[in-house]
Amino acid sequence: MKYITEFRDGKLARKLARAIEREADPGRRYHLMEFCGGHTHAIFRYGVQDLVPENVQFVHGPGCPVCVLPVRRLDDAVELALGHDVILTTYGDMMRVPGTKQKSLIRAKAEGADIRMVYSTQDALKIARDNPDRQVVFFAIGFETTTPPTAVAILQARHEGLTNFSVFCNHVLTPPAIAHIVNAPAEPGETPVRIDGFLGPSHVSSVIGWAPYEPAARDFQKPVVIAGFEPLDVMQSALMLIRQINEGRHEVENQYTRVVTRDGNRKAQTLVAEVMEVRDAFEWRGLGTVPESALKIRAAYETFDAESRFALTPKQSREVKSCECPAILRGVKKPTECRLFGTVCTPENPMGACMVSSEGACAAYWTYGRKRGEAVRETAA
């Protein structure tokens, strides 16, 4: 597969691993946070952590949109589907995430709600066209990568005069989340997570460009390297971060040059800005309330905003007790430090969002990493 296979080449991986080993100072520790779940997935699937020296550690970040969506917003979606008689359309990732009392969209569907999985916002529009007598809501989640397709759907719905289509908007923004992770005080009883540099988002940056990370890199003196999602991309980006750390630099560098430019996709940015504006604040699972970290639909497009169209009731939403998803998203705990991991919480029966999404750290540990420690111990013995 062009542009994929070349970036998984084993020989090159070993060469990069040797370069990292040579350039990483044995007297230092390098804590590199990969922001995106896509990176976490690549690191586990290809065993990247085992290819680099022990003093180079990957810290898993919150870049999994399904994972950071707070339980209240999911409960709202369940209410839309069960209480307002709409056809709720959503990306497949959301279906099995447990809400309050473990009520997921798939359970709501079993109770009779009309919930339909879509691959694209184009499919949601088609459902609206095919069901003119029903209200169709698209449950929109995702970072800047996934936002432009939602904006296009709203513009298209207006152009076509669709009056039965609206969006429940939960799109979130990456740069404020990065700043928050570096800046936020640790939770009571928690040791703050140490981060020496960031592997920056791949496809988010294809849309917004790499310039938006410059304030965070400068103000918090943390290097950022925009990294592709293939294993070689991750390794080369780690090497670039190690070099910056060694040289005391904290710049934004771009490893993913085949896709990302400084300014990103201007057309996509313009379409999003036409339809959406920044919210004053938004709640993230794990990070809490983060100022100016999400988007809402502009008043001019109010008729396409499910939050204005339907009266959602305030609710007492609750996470599953003992689920460590929030601490895992902050990077302060590893999935194996959660009591539920691998016992009551598995991909077949997930208790938290981090086990549902393939980008979640728990799912990555479960799929690729849960035997890792054991194998190392056996070799040592």
Binding site: Y3, R22, G38, T146, S206, V259, L271
Partner: protein, 89 residues
Amino acid sequence: MCLAIPARVISLESGDMAIVALEGIKKPVSTALLEEVTVGDYVLVHVGYALHKLSEEEAERTLQLMAEAGVLAEELEEMAGTSLEGAER
């Protein structure tokens, strides 16, 4: 969620749509987010939308840089002549 797959544009359709091919699979995608697109372009496909064009030149350059990072390191190793790997050989 943010995953996107590189695919080749094989035809342009009406209404800002195109057909892309990847490993023998053909799929309609929206090109509404691209300024311009032509048949033969490689685009990054995400949730049914072409998000960005891929630069062939930059892809080649990245691979070359990766190779150089390794090669240069190995040359230094030979110059130093004292590494563990050298000792094993």
